[in-house]
Symmetry: C2
Subunit: 190 residues, 2 copies
């Protein structure tokens, strides 16, 4: 997606060889019109997949999911990361290790909002090692739902997550794949 | 907003006299088309306010903010609740006590994304005691930005938050105000 790649190049901040900050348009400040284009793009790619639900994890995934849901005309469910006092007892649950936060956290989805009849599109802002997406796939499987695919805004192609998902036969659509970050320069997969 | 009130009545779960769960359409599962109507409603109400930025706090506020931003054509900034390894050192910061989670947390916005020239609309899913909104107003003031108003999806009118904001002269637009929850029945302010 060319608009997205242009924004990554002009606004992304590369820190070392691993960290790419795009918080001017994706995960702190959000450019709603870019997100709407992203949602439209995912919608086109998965329009023949009979999606019934979009699954993501709080917080940054919510914007991507909502904008995609608008185009596909289906509800979003976002997995919650923390245990709240008024949370349902009946949940699907998985564990995710976050490299950014350097800790393991639980993600949970109420059993009410995912069922065997669902055909699920998972979306998220970033894919690196793939821990969050794998946790979400685990939840889809616990629900007995079927996985239509995974839509990622920015995949770090030099990490293992995308490779592993494709090897497992998961349909993965990444709108921008960064293959390397060398001396502050971003190299996209073409 | 009648569509919203109807959904609250048909799908809301009242627990005791204080907890209203609307996680089938607002804060766990999200009905994107209802959220789009909500965004359009906030956009109409604040369209003459020369809004330059929509401010909310993760996680449930993000969906409301993005759908409003789409209609107003301005960016969203969402305050972050936890300290991440790759967070900017330069932030506006405030403290918020959460009754739901029974703890105090920090909310932070990078100084890059809010400035004295901004005219800010704060939006959130719920307003009860008003702690989150007051934390966001604190951040707007720290930035020297001007506050255009506050847009809330569901206000608990029997708690102090809305009353206090109106008394301070803040323009508060709540799309549904619940004045009481008695024996599981929801009483709206008319």
């Amino acid at each position: 997606m060319e608009t997205l790649k242009r924004r990554i190049v002009t606004e992304g901040k590369v820190i070392g060889s691993n960290i790419l900050k795009v918080d001017s348009f994706l995960n702190h400040q959000i450019d709603a019109s870019l997100l709407d284009e992203i949602g439209s793009e995912f919608s086109s790619k998965f329009q023949n997949e009979r999606i019934t639900k979009i699954l993501t994890v709080e917080a940054s995934g919510i914007a991507v999911a909502c904008m995609t849901a608008r185009h596909l005309g289906v509800p979003v469910v976002f997995a919650k990361k923390t245990e709240a006092a008024n949370q349902d007892a009946e949940v699907f649950q998985s564990e995710v290790y976050s490299f950014t936060r350097q800790k393991t956290y639980k993600i949970r989805v109420s059993r009410k909002y995912l069922s065997a009849g669902d055909r699920v599109l998972i979306v998220d802002d970033f894919l690196a090692a793939g821990r969050a997406v794998n946790g979400l796939i685990d939840i889809v499987e616990q629900a007995g739902a079927s996985l239509a695919g995974v839509g990622i805004v920015i995949e770090k192609g030099f990490q293992q997550g995308g490779k592993d998902l494709r090897a497992r036969g998961v349909r993965l659509e990444s709108l921008a794949i960064v293959d390397a970050m060398i001396d502050g320069k971003i190299v996209f997969r073409t």
